[in-house]
Structure formats: C-alpha cells, structure tokens
C-alpha cells in the first residue's frame, strides 16, 4: 500500500458528506481522544439528527425535547422563525441537554467537519462539564430530568382538562413572571435527625453546667425587647422569612391556591432551578466545550484522521466562534462567552506548561505544574464563572485583551470615568469587576419577602435591595407584582431600599378577582 492510500485509509471522512456510520466513526475517534488522552468523564452519549424546523422547535421550548404547552413558547417560535426566514440569524449548530444519556442535537445541514466539531464540542465538552461541575451536581438531576418533564407535561395537560385552559394559563403566566426569583440560591441546611438533635442538646447542657458562674446574674442586661418585636420574629421564623425564593414561598404558604396550582408553581420552580447552574457558568461551560473541541480537532488532524482541507474548514468556524470584537466595534455586544472562556482556558494551559515569573507570582498553585488537563479538570469541577474569573483571569490576558474599566455615575456631568486599565494598578480591579459582572447574585435584582401581616389584612411585604440607585423597571415590576398578588390572594407591597436603608420607592398591587372553576372563594 502506498503512503497516500494509507493516509486516505485513516481519514474519518472525505469531503462534506456524512451518513450514520460516519457519525459513529467520528464519535468513536473523538471518544478515544476525549477519554483516553484528555481524561474526560462523560455521561453516555445520545446523538440526534434533526432538521432546521426541529431546531427552531427546540429553541422555543428552552432546548428541552419535551415541555409543557404554553403560548409563550409559540411566541418565541414565531419570533425565531421570522428572523431565520429573513436570513437575519443563523441557527446554532447544536443544542445539548444536561441529561443522562446526554442528548446532543445535530443539524442535518451541517457538513461532516461541522458534525465532528459539534460532537467534540457538545457530546464531550459540555457533557463533561455537566457531569463534573459542582453546581450541576448540586442542583440538577441529569438522570431524572426527562422523566420529570414528561410528568410536568402530562400533569399540566391534565390540569387543563380539569380546570380549563384559561385558569392553568393564568397560573403559568404568573409563575413564569416570578421564575427568575424561583430558585434556591444556596443549598439548604440539611435536616438534623432527632437523635443528633438530642445529643446536641445534652452537649449544650453539659457545656452550660461547666461554664456556670453565678456572677453573670448580677450583670445588668440591656433593654427588654417589647412584645411586638418578639411577635415579628416568631412570625418570620414560622414562615421561613426572609425568603428570596418567591415561588417556593407561595407554593408553601399562599393561603388561596388550589393544590394543583401549588404543583404548577413547583414544576416551574424545578425547571428554573434546573437551569440555574447554566446561568452561572456560561463562560466556563462554553470555554470548556470550546477548549475540548479545539484539543480534539487538533489531535484528530495530527493523527491524520482529518484532511487538511477539512481542518481549515474547522479553523474558519472556530475562529468565528471565538471572535471578540473590541468595544468600539460596531459588532460589539458585550463579552463573547466562547471567546473569553476559550482564551482563559488556553491561558491556564500556558501558565501550567510555560509560566513567566509574573504567572508564578500570581498563580503559585498552578504555575509550572506541567499537566494542563489535570489542572483544568479540577477547575472545571470546582468553579463557576464568578469565582473562575476572579481566580484565573491573568494579567497576561488582561493585557492581551486590553481590558479597561469604566465608572459611570449619572450625577457626574463631565462624562464617564476610566477607573482602571490594563496596568499594574488596574489588574486586580478589572478582574474583580469582570468577575462581579458574572455573579448573578449581583447582577440580578435581589428581592426578598420580609413580612406578612398575618393579624391584619395579610399584606405581603417585599423588599428590593437597590444599591447604586438600581431601581426596578417600573411598568414591568407593576405587572409582575400583579401576578404575585393574584397568586397570594391579598395585597402585595414592594419597597425598594437604597444603600442607606432608605425606602426610595414603593409599589403596591391588589389581587384581581379571579372567578374560576374550583376556586374556594368563587
């Protein structure tokens, strides 16, 4: 056999065409590298080939293969479709679902090179991230999600049959409006079991006996707290206030909801919780997937499994994906998570394998460790965007991207202040600020339910912490509060509180009289 023929023999595919055995071959080749060389740990893969219309379908129902029915998904579909038809927007090459088996959708139009790229990117990059990142481990259940969505879909369909589409739609509308504030941000404390509780109590008693000193009795105590304070505290404790998970609170404590409405709130809440980790790991998730596909494609090419021509095709779309326009570019629309993530991953690889003195000073833990994949796998498991950037954005990258920070105070009539640039004094500030922009605890408005007037008119009191004059958008807030009031069944008040604990704005909503089948008060 001649050398050329041998080379040809090694190729996974030729040209742009593919069929199912090609996909299988591509997957196996990628798997060999991903598992064998990169040491990735993935859920079993399921690859589904779909049409453009099905891709649009998937878009409009948040990417999930099955979802309950709601008009808003129809709206998104019509919206995406209109853009797609007029050629204003391309469809994504892939969608990948955090489930086990991990489902990746491939578009039928993609060329063989693109399919390879997508398989490497989604079926191995994202897949590894889903399976190993701590946020996903903590908050999502990859094995159960598809079954749960199936349950949700049929449950909501049954509710529609029994209680009418309008009633269900109204509940879903309200729940969707509160979806962004329907997640647990912190892992709940684990419930202690009774035996442990008792043991703890004994320990405390013993400790008190040991430390007993009669002198304490003579020390003058502070002002006695009055009854109202105690009452408030007890009430708050009973209702679990303050509570930032609005949907959870309504599901558990709203007096006027029907059992099926509580279940619907619960479904929406679970869905929101499932997507919560993805919102916090955009940069890392895409960075990981992009880094992985780049590694796999490069190695496939090195082994002669991809021809030079196809490799160039890959490089072209890869460069498009990781393109970051500068701030004064017409195309600029914020940071591209693919670009930022990929650049940081590559930078970490550089620090691990070939560090400068600066790197050794900034990253003593990882500089020069020699095995980039081991370091990266650890990072992928233990960080989210905010902590990732605040730990690993290096001065080298800040210089390379020429990052700078703007401080914009509307009171300052002269203009916008450049508060830090890519120099010795600026690195840390730029890095802290960029990390903050990826902290959804900081960027999302923080709203807590703080009190319920149980003795009086049952008015629900919410507070929005609005430092830096970040008040809420007026008309939308009114609409959301209306939904909230409908679910609560009594008046609702939202106070906006600025940094100095001063109430700057108040919104009030009264519940609409909803007369529906099965309403207790109808």
């Amino acid at each position: 056999m001649t050398q050329a023929a041998m080379q040809k023999d090694r190729l996974l595919f030729e040209g742009a065409d593919w069929d199912f055995s090609t996909l299988q071959r591509i997957h196996d080749a990628c798997e060999e590298i991903a598992i064998g060389e990169l040491g990735l740990d993935v859920y079993p893969n399921q690859i589904e080939v779909i049409t453009a219309e099905q891709m649009l379908d998937a878009y409009s129902s948040t990417g999930m293969p099955l979802f309950y029915r709601h008009w808003s998904f129809g709206k998104h579909f019509a919206h995406h479709e209109a853009f797609y038809r007029r050629g204003m927007r391309d469809l994504a090459y892939e969608i990948v679902i955090n489930s086990s088996p991990c489902i990746s959708y491939l578009m039928e139009e993609n060329t063989a090179t693109m399919q390879t790229l997508v398989i490497a990117h989604a079926a191995f990059g994202h897949n590894h991230f889903f399976k190993n990142n701590y946020l996903f481990k903590l908050w999502t259940d990859a094995e159960g999600i598809l079954d749960y969505l199936d349950f949700a879909k049929s449950y909501i369909a049954r509710c529609e049959e029994r209680y009418g589409e309008t009633a269900v739609e109204r509940t879903l509308d309200a729940a969707h409006a509160l979806m962004s504030h329907g997640v647990h941000r912190y892992a709940g404390k684990t419930r202690l079991d009774l035996r442990q509780e008792e043991k703890r109590q004994q320990e405390r008693r013993a400790h008190e006996e040991q430390m007993f000193n009669d002198l304490w009795r003579t020390v003058p105590s502070g002002r006695k707290r009055d009854a109202a304070d105690v009452d408030l505290e007890r009430r708050r404790a009973a209702l679990g206030l303050p509570q930032d998970n609005l949907l959870y609170f309504l599901e558990k404590s709203s007096p006027r909801l029907q059992p099926w409405q509580r279940e619907i709130l619960r479904i929406v809440r679970h869905v929101a919780q499932y997507f919560h980790p993805q919102r916090q790991t955009k940069v890392m998730n895409e960075g990981t997937a992009t880094y992985v596909h780049y590694q796999i494609m490069e190695r496939l090419h090195d082994r002669g499994q991809i021809s030079d021509g196809n490799y160039f095709e890959f490089l072209k779309s890869h460069t498009n994906v990781v393109f970051q326009p500068t701030f004064d570019d017409r195309r600029f629309s914020g940071f591209n998570p693919y670009a930022l993530g990929f650049a940081m991953m590559q930078d970490i690889e550089r620090i691990v394998t070939d560090p400068t003195d600066e790197d050794r000073e900034w990253f003593p833990d990882i500089a020069g460790r020699g095995d980039p994949m081991q370091v990266l796998r650890g990072i992928w498991a233990d960080y989210r965007d905010e902590s990732f950037i605040s730990q690993f954005l290096s001065p080298h990258l800040i210089r390379k991207w020429r990052l700078f920070q703007l401080y914009d105070d509307p009171q300052m009539s002269e203009g916008i202040l450049v508060s830090a640039i890519h120099d010795e004094r600026g690195y840390k500030r730029v890095r802290r600020q960029l990390a903050r922009e990826y902290d959804i605890g900081w960027t999302d408005p923080r709203i807590d339910i703080v009190d319920v007037d149980l003795a009086g008119d049952r008015r629900l009191l919410l507070q929005h912490r609005a430092p830096n004059d970040w008040v809420l958008e007026d008309s939308e807030t009114r609409q959301v509060l209306q939904h909230l009031a409908d679910l609560w069944g009594y008046d609702v008040m939202l106070q906006e509180i600025d940094g100095a604990e001063k109430v700057v704005k108040e919104h009030v909503a009264h519940p609409r009289e909803i007369r529906q089948k099965g309403d207790l008060f109808a």
């Binding site: 080939v49 379908d57 008009w71 701030f327 700078f404 450049v418 008040v471 958008e473 807030t477």
Partner: protein, 425 residues
C-alpha cells in the same frame, strides 16, 4: 452511544403552542390583518403573509433593573485611555450602561408570518350569513356514512379485528380445537414413555389431534366480519348570493374600485366559509346582464342607469333557477345612488314587493367620492330605500367613501348576530 434520526418525527411539534399564542394575540392579530388589507391589493392578501404585532399584552414581565444608576463595567480593546480619563457621554444617549444588544432585539416590532389558513381564519372570524334558515333535503344530497353494525363482506380497511377474533375464539372453543400446549404435553409424554404399547396409543392420539388442528383453522373465513356503514342523507342549507353592481357612466374609477373591493371581500368570505353557496354576478347600466366572476371584477362597460333592470334580472334568475322555498337568497347591491327619475317607481315596487319578500338579507352599499360624507346621503336611490326600510327588516344600508371604510362596513354587515337584530344604518 446511540444515534437517532429525528428528522422523520412528525412535524409541527410546536403547532399547539403557536395556536395558543395566536389565540392569545387574537385582537392584535386581527388589527394587524385589517391594517394589512388596506395597504395591499386584496389578491395578495389572500396568500397570507407577514404581519407585525405590537408586543403589548404579550410581554413576559419579570423583575428587571431599570436603566441608570451608578454602573461599573469592563470592556475589551482599550486603545488610548489611561486611568483617570473622562470620556464625554455620547450625545443623544442618556446616561447609563451601553445598551446590551441581543436583549431587547426585535421585541417592540414583533413580526411574523401567518399561513394562508391562519390569515383567513383571523380575517373571516365572526362573520356569517344571517338567517341561514331554510335547511332541507334535496336530490343532490350530501351523504354522511353512519355506523350500521357488521357485515360479512367489505373492504379490508373496514375489517373489525375485535369482532373477527371473538367469533374465531367462539368457534375454536365450540369445536374443541386442541391447544398447542396440549400437543406439546402429549409429545413430551411420548418422548418420556418407555412402554411401547402406550406409546403407540399416545402417538395415535397425537395424530388425531394434529389432524383436528389442521381441520379446524385458527381463523376461518366464516369468522371474518367487517364494519358496515350506511349512507345517510344530510340536510344542507343552500344559499345564493346575488351581487348587483352598477357600472354606469356616473360611477367614477374610485367608486368602482370601492365596489369591487367590497365584492371581493364578499366573494372571499363566501367561497372560504360556505361550500354550498352559489354566487350570481349581475352588472347593470340601463340594462342588466349576468356575467361570470372575471368579467364582473375586471370587465369594462359603461352606459346609463336603470336600477330596476338589475332587480328584474335578479327576479327572473330566481324564478328560473332558485326556488325560494329551498334556497336562502341574499343580495348585495353597490351603486353610486344615481337612478333615472322615471325608474324610481318601478325600482321601489320591484324591491318592496318582489325581491325583499324572497330575500333573507339585502345589503345596499352606496359608494361615493373620496371626500364624501359616509354618514349621510341624499341620492335618489338612498332616499327611495330609506322610505322602504321601515317596512322591511331585511334591508341594510351603508355608505362608503374611502378604502379603509370597506372592511368595517363589510364586517358590520356580516358579523355574527346573536338574535334577530338586524344591521341598522
């Protein structure tokens, strides 16, 4: 690893969601569809097409921060700034963070494409022919199949598997068809049997059983049953619409355009909504003629005006082809209101005593120049009809001067009415 080909899955997975969205946005879609009627030629409109909706009422609100406040952000691509520089704010743009593209994009100008069916159903929603009362059986009957038990012959697609297997089972039990298990058991007995004599006996028994099985089939042609359908005649309402249009010299181009637009809407409405509606086109000058659809809409003719000629033509066509006891008869007349003086008495007489008693509904549209007053008219025909109206509840009158009034008037004339209330002028 699994590879699944989903391309063959049924299409239109999100159709249900789309319909819900359209239902939700119904008012807005209707507005948009009507707006698009004015700007486009009606023939184009029929193909469906893109409509643009205001987003109000369909927004999905959430707690969001308003623009403004003190903000900090990091940007890439610094060229010349150093720390402490102050950049003047770009003019026209208020203070605050630069608008994040991709977020509100296209939300206010929400455009999307309606299919032809969706377009027509929105467009023709809540329209109907009033008083479609006479329903009866006629000789060219519409048949509808009705279930009528089972038969022993029929087409394979009507095979009733249920009934067939039940009968087969009854027969098998009645004729004691041996079960496969029995034969197996016997075979096993034979295999294990050591006594030659009993073995022979058993073998004989087995032979008779297998023969029996062969004689008594599992499913016999006797068992087969088919679902039977009888055709039952269905009463239908037959309706005819007379379109009477004045094409005399006094009608200006603008008026003719208005009248034709009106009839196009009517034609569209009838042909889409009712399968069984005949449409008769009559145009008249000083004499009337029945024409086909193309001539009616696109033909050129001119002359004097004798309204009674059209009514007379309508009367003779009814007498010849449409028995008023069987047909629901409708008429829509469009004219500029001119009529020759000597024709007034015959027209009034014809309409009042011969046409109106036969009609379920008679709509009169008066078209006028662009600047006209669409609320009042002083034309001879209008005055004449006005005098007849008090005694004829089925007569409705409207006046149209501008293109954009066509649809409201049309809609008003043919919208669904709960009871007997008629359109009032």
């Amino acid at each position: 690893m699994h590879i699944i080909d989903r391309r063959l899955n049924p299409r239109g997975k999100s159709l249900e969601n789309r319909q819900r969205f359209l239902r939700r946005a119904k008012d807005a879609v209707q507005q948009a569809v009507r707006r698009s009627l004015q700007s486009r030629s009606i023939r184009d409109v029929l193909d469906g097409g893109e409509v643009s909706l205001p987003i109000g009422g369909m927004g999905e609100p959430s707690f969001r921060r308003a623009e403004g406040g003190i903000t900090d952000h990091v940007l890439p691509g610094n060229r010349a700034f150093v720390e402490g520089d102050i950049i003047p704010r770009p003019p026209g743009q208020g203070a605050g963070r630069p608008k994040e593209a991709g977020q509100g994009d296209g939300e206010d100008g929400f455009r999307f494409v309606l299919t032809r069916e969706e377009f027509l159903s929105v467009f023709l929603d809540d329209l109907e022919l009033p008083e479609l009362a006479k329903r009866r059986l006629s000789e060219t009957e519409e048949m509808s199949p009705v279930r009528a038990g089972y038969s022993i012959s029929g087409s394979p697609s009507n095979l009733s598997i249920d009934r067939t297997t039940r009968l087969a089972m009854m027969r098998r039990i009645a004729l004691k068809r041996p079960k496969p298990a029995e034969i197996e058991a016997l075979q096993r007995q034979i295999d294990e049997c050591e006594n030659e004599e009993t073995r022979l006996l058993l073998e004989a028994e087995l032979k008779s059983l297998t023969e029996r099985i062969r004689r008594i089939p599992y499913v016999d042609p006797l068992d087969v049953r088919y679902r039977r359908f009888d055709n039952e005649p269905k009463p239908v309402a037959k309706a005819v619409m007379f379109c009477l249009m004045d094409v005399s010299g006094s009608m200006s181009e603008h008026m003719k355009d208005l009248a034709k637009r009106f009839y196009l809407l009517l034609y569209l409405f009838l042909s889409q909504r009712y399968e069984k509606v005949e449409i008769v086109f009559i145009r008249h000058t000083e004499k009337a003629e029945e024409v086909d659809e193309d001539t009616f809409f696109y033909g050129q003719a001119t002359g004097g005006t004798l309204v009674s000629s059209a009514l007379a033509a309508m009367r003779s066509i009814i007498a010849a082809r449409f028995d008023p006891t069987e047909w629901n008869i409708y008429a829509a007349q469009a004219s500029d209101g001119d009529n020759s003086y000597r024709d007034e008495a015959p027209t009034g007489h014809l309409l009042k005593h011969e046409i109106l008693p036969l009609c379920q509904y008679f709509a009169y549209i008066e078209v006028d120049e662009e600047g006209g007053d669409s609320l009042a008219s002083n034309s001879p025909l209008w005055r004449l009809y006005e005098s007849i109206r008090p005694s004829a509840a089925t007569l409705a009158m409207r006046k149209v001067c501008r293109k954009n009034e066509i649809f409201p008037v049309f809609h008003d004339l043919f919208q669904k009415r709960s009871t007997q209330t008629k359109a009032v002028p």
